[in-house]
């Protein structure tokens, strides 16, 4: 049974309709001790079905340690939202989702896809100016729950 109802799928299709450059959802999974890895893969599959520019790229956290390290994955399920530079090379802005994208996180994931595709942060010009002062590696973690 699909995760998305027909009206939800229509809404996702609408939200992602503006995506016009390739976005890859790098998905870290593991075979054991990951209750929601299978569900996450199915959700991502349903999302990419709605938008030809969006794809899923699965890696096994346990078996593919080099790629897991490249994306900084330390747990599963996890998703990196990776875009494309104008020259066609990978552009990884450093956006990660740790845990299944359910509830609020699902709409956050869709928003991340559209923003990575457009490279538009959606911040005010004042905020963008302030952030230009950040010149050292900075991590932001936001703890959330599905409801």
């Amino acid at each position: 049974m699909p995760f998305l109802s027909d009206p939800e799928r229509a809404e996702v299709t609408k939200m992602l309709s503006g995506v016009d450059s390739p976005v890859r959802l790098v998905f870290a999974t593991q075979t054991f001790s990951c209750e929601l890895c299978g569900d996450t893969r199915r959700i991502l599959d349903e999302v990419v079905e709605t938008q030809p520019h969006v794809s899923v790229d699965e890696l096994n956290l346990v078996l593919d340690t080099a790629r897991a390290a490249e994306y900084g994955f330390s747990g599963a399920p996890a998703i990196a939202v990776v875009g494309t530079d104008p020259d066609g090379s990978e552009w990884d802005p450093g956006i990660r989702f740790l845990g299944a994208p359910l509830g609020y996180e699902f709409s956050n994931l869709l928003e991340a896809i559209t923003r990575v595709a457009s490279r538009e942060a959606g911040l005010s010009p004042a905020s963008v100016d302030k952030l230009a002062h950040v010149t050292k590696p900075t991590t932001i973690q936001v703890f959330s729950t599905p409801t």
Binding site: P93, G94, I95, R96, L98, S124, K136, T138, I140, F143
Partner: protein, 62 residues
């Protein structure tokens, strides 16, 4: 912010699935924002407050 600045990474953590991280960062409520493992903000924040905290977190480490 991660899109606006290449030095910034942003991770959304689903708290119920990662209790070890919840313990490490003493997450007592959501949303909780942790910047550079040190600065914390509890509750949803206006954009300017959030951005200022990110910039200030970098200054604290100098």
């Amino acid at each position: 912010m991660a899109i606006a600045n290449p030095h910034i990474t942003a991770t959304v953590v689903e708290a119920t699935e990662f209790p070890d991280l919840v313990r490490r960062y003493q997450v007592t409520g959501v949303p909780k924002i942790v910047i550079n493992d040190s600065t914390t903000l509890l509750g949803a924040q206006p954009e300017d407050v959030f951005v200022s905290a990110v910039v200030a977190a970098q200054d604290q480490e100098r």
